[in-house]
Amino acid sequence: MSAVGARAATESPAASRPLVQVHDLVREYRMGKDPVHALRGVSFDVREGEYVAIVGPSGCGKSTLLNLLGVIDRPTAGSVTIDGERVDRLPDARATEFRLRAIGFVFQRFYLMPALTARENVELPMAEAGLRGRARRDRALLLLDYVGLRARERHRPSQLSGGEQQRVAIARALANEPRLVLADEPTGELDAGTGTEMIELFGRLNADGTTIIVVTHDEELARAAKRVIHMRDGRILRDERVR
């Protein structure tokens, strides 16, 4: 077990069991009167401990795919299985519980609660999961320490730089020891230097055993992943292991 408590893979990703299984995933919605085919039958597996980058031009469906993996959207057809559980048709309450326990989200715009301090932001999912008092506080501090922000625990988001806010967001994503961390353009709002620091943090996170799927335009971030899925027009164009 690493300092962050993520479930470390004890074997290589290739040999481990599939954590995510996506089968023939279709997502259509309407924009005004026009139908939009965001995903047109996407299938792939992600094994425990993998670090996957999904890349492609804007509108290719990569964020839609991430939303479906994160159980915050429902597919038109197809299935998503995470850790052995079909999650594409979960009722709302069960889906919420699943997101709380199994998924860690990192958003492009950080989306921290502006009224809460850095530590309180990290504590929020833990509080929801029922972790109380000192244990919750200690774990929040441990995670802030992991992302290098222990000294800024009492700062509110408005008092933190973009890179620092994203680090807090990563600490928050790790709060309940998720099976899977999903990141949507995590370097999109950061300058090059801060983006590089973030890439290193994701690398360290994966090295500590966390399974990561990241959607990005950032070539440097994509290069840091061990596997890259190229998408275009709602389909997988290429799926390659780069390391």
Binding site: I72, E97, F105, F107, A115, L124, N176
Partner: protein, 395 residues
């Protein structure tokens, strides 16, 4: 954590929160005043009627006490019959009339009550003593001020004025022996009380053995309603009124006040509801992205609703003591104005604070305030998460 978020959200827009709290406080004050008005007069009138312990009143058949100038004949025998009843503790006969008091500037007319000082229940002595002698009377401040006299002075008063002869009738010299406060008189109404026999003799033959009213106090444990029926049977020419019936009569006469109070109270409740709903809706719309993120990271829907309801509850809870104070101050001010309402006893309170009614009203306001937050918060917590985040990202 929910409370921290709720408090932080309220503090984020301090001015808006303060204005909303003031708005709810004003609504609370209005609701409280209307509840006090709707029930206050009734309770206050009941207390006033019972203040001297007389549960029954005999008035001429078909009238209410002092509603007309009608009187009951054979008053002395009626009083004797009543006093002989074992369940009756005290009977106080009263004859109503007018006195014209001569002053240097002309005659001053005043209401006058002929009473039996030992059993009277119409006034409270402020200074001096009761009018036990045949040529004595007591007067209230309004009368003393109007005639420019004080306790100890002697006045000349007439019980009647003949317009054809343009002369006073039943003139008599009376000594003022006490200063009193009449219980059932309107504000600024001039009044005097003198022995029943004295007033009767001044009024002449028409008033002989007559009374306008008799008040009856029963002994402890006596059944008021049964005694009322019995007295009515014994004195068929009188209308016997219990406190309950008197209150019912008052209720009927003041139903407009009550309806007004109920309508305005309901309006203030609706205003508070809409105010909180508007504020919560605005606040929620500003935080729609935050709420979507909370849902995305696994915060349950009811927890989001609870947080926003806690914000509404906090506003209402802060507003309620303010509303209570404002309501009481306003009620006192309005009461002082309405106390001058012609024909109503000064001592009747239009706005009577009754803790149970007040807490019920404020509790209702608190519940409606919290409920008003439920719909907008539930709606925002039920929006599709992915689509909301996408819109927020684009926006």
């Amino acid at each position: 954590m929910i409370l921290s978020l709720a408090a932080a959200s309220l503090l984020r827009h301090r001015a808006r929160t303060m204005l909303a709290i003031l708005g709810v406080a004003v609504s609370a004050a209005m609701l409280l005043d209307m509840v006090m008005l709707a029930t206050g007069m009734r309770e206050s009138f009941g207390s006033l009627l019972l203040s001297q312990g007389f549960q029954l009143r005999l008035a001429p058949k078909g009238t209410l006490p002092f509603d007309t100038e009608a009187t009951i004949a054979g008053a002395d025998s009626i009083v004797a019959i009543l006093r002989a009843r074992p369940e009756v503790e005290r009977v106080s006969p009263v004859l109503g009339g007018q006195l014209h008091i001569m002053t240097a500037r002309g005659a001053v007319t005043t209401a006058a009550l002929g009473i039996e000082p030992a059993v009277q229940g119409d006034y409270e002595l402020v200074a001096g003593r009761h009018p036990t002698g045949a040529d004595e009377l007591v007067a209230n401040d309004a009368l003393l001020a109007a005639i420019g006299r004080r306790v100890g002075d002697t006045i000349t008063a007439a019980a009647d004025y003949d317009p054809q002869l343009r002369a006073m009738a039943g003139t008599r010299a009376l000594r003022i022996v006490g200063r009193v406060r009449f219980i059932y008189f309107a504000a600024e109404q001039r009044g005097a009380a003198l022995p029943l026999g004295t007033l009767r003799s001044m009024k002449g033959r028409d008033a002989d053995r007559r009374m306008s009213l008799a008040m009856v106090r029963l002994r402890d444990g006596a059944d008021v309603e049964r005694t009322r029926a019995l007295v009515e049977h014994l004195v068929p020419r009188a209308h016997v009124i219990s406190i309950a019936e008197a209150i019912q009569q008052v209720d009927e006469r003041l139903s407009y006040f009550r309806q007004l109070a109920v309508i305005l109270g309901a309006v203030s409740l609706v205003v508070a509801f809409l105010l909180v709903t508007t504020l919560v809706t605005v606040s929620v719309n500003e935080r729609i992205g935050e709420i979507a993120v909370m849902r995305a990271i696994g915060v349950r829907r009811w927890r989001v609703v609870a947080q926003i309801a806690a914000e509404a509850a906090a506003m209402v809870l802060v507003a309620m003591p303010l509303g209570l104070m404002l309501g009481l101050v306003t009620a006192r001010y309005l009461d002082s104005i309405l106390a001058r309402f012609p024909g109503l006893p000064e001592r009747v309170d239009f706005f009577l604070f009754q803790p149970r009614a007040a807490w019920t009203a404020l509790g209702l306001l608190a519940v409606s305030g919290v409920l008003s937050a439920v719909y907008p918060s539930w709606r925002s917590a039920s929006l599709p998460i992915a689509a909301t985040l996408r819109r927020e990202a684009v926006g």
